[in-house]
Symmetry: C2
Subunit: 221 residues, 2 copies
């Protein structure tokens, strides 16, 4: 797809179309920078929106969770799903209430998920979710046991029917409002990791690994 | 409702019920600390999840946007909606891949929204959304004109069918894994405002108001 073509009518951004992006590099960069997603699905006509972790491998998103999860059990039945990733970049403070806004980057992925049953792809998906949160962690920890794997469901969602919406930059006021004696600008926002807090049961003499010590958002490419 | 009773079967937390909270003080505190919400609704069987701002007045959530918004036009028709607010508090790093988790606080509100038509309540809702993002801003800026108000839709959603889910604290590993020579603990996360960036067109001599200069997340009560 090009930068101006939506992959489907229902992923075409309708409000503020100048904020739309449909090119893969933009969409993947937002998916990779996001930490969690919000998964939307409907059961008996009622939509639910649940925050969860995810990982990306190429054009596939992986979700995981308990095999008993109502959300995952609903999704693996092939019902339509929407996965949304939102990055909040700043508060846009205009001179008029009406032109206040947010700077943000968001991606919407529509489609249907399938349960991953191949053992190698299940591990790949779980590793992708783990590395998405904290790169390097997967190889530092005890890997999943057979029993844990049996208790875990992995779902795959293709990143094909998707679009991004982005707002950047300063406020855009009505021309006559620029003369108002009112401060205007942007308060940038960052999701900022704080110093790690050791587990109270951490054994003596175990050093912080570099993955944790140097953790920052977004993780470097 | 009490701390242990869900207001409806469909808001009862099913996975990890020890993380559920149903008391109003907990739910309102999460709603008040969140900056944006994710709104879930279905059109022609396809769920959509859209990030947006909101405000709370008592047991009412207010949403607003363009009168031409597909989302708002769908919602005002009275279709079922789910509004989810998620606060990410930290990465929970266990000694096993399986027990990794996130610390978070989230609220789900189910129901149907109605369009607010009373002019006074419309202004109240818009002020609530504005003050939710940045307290004090509403009185610093040019208020909405009649034309701007005509272009704006305000919706109200009751905060009645709702539940919270919360995870706090250190990782919980399998007993035998505590002996592993692996660092474990929590990386706390904060949504951190950065120094304000003035609009390039800001006139000379306009000082930063205290509302912006002292802005922090969460806003003090």
């Amino acid at each position: 797809m090009t930068g101006t073509d939506a992959p489907s009518e229902r992923t075409r951004v309708q409000r503020a179309p100048q904020r739309a992006a449909y090119d893969r590099a933009t969409i993947e960069a937002i998916l990779d920078e996001g930490l969690t997603c919000h998964v939307g699905f409907a059961v008996e006509g009622q939509p639910y929106v649940i925050p969860t972790n995810y990982g990306r491998v190429g054009d596939r998103l992986y979700l995981h969770g308990s095999s008993a999860s109502r959300m995952l059990r609903s999704l693996r039945d092939g019902i339509p799903v929407c996965v949304t990733v939102t990055l909040l970049d700043g508060l846009v403070l205009a001179r008029s209430a009406y032109h206040h806004s947010m700077n943000y980057r968001s991606v919407v992925v529509l489609g249907t998920a399938v349960e991953v049953t191949d053992p190698a792809e299940r591990l790949l998906g779980l590793e992708a979710v783990s590395e998405h949160v904290l790169r390097g962690r997967w190889r530092e920890v005890r890997p999943p046991s057979d029993k844990e794997l049996r208790a875990t469901m992995v779902l795959r969602l293709p990143v094909t029917e998707t679009s991004a919406k982005i707002r950047t930059g300063p406020p855009l006021d009505d021309e006559e409002d620029y003369a108002l004696p009112c401060w205007a600008g942007v308060i940038p926002l960052q999701l900022a990791p704080q110093p790690p807090v050791p587990d109270p049961r951490l054994a003596a003499g175990i050093a912080l690994p570099a993955s944790v010590r140097e953790y920052r958002r977004p993780q470097p490419r």
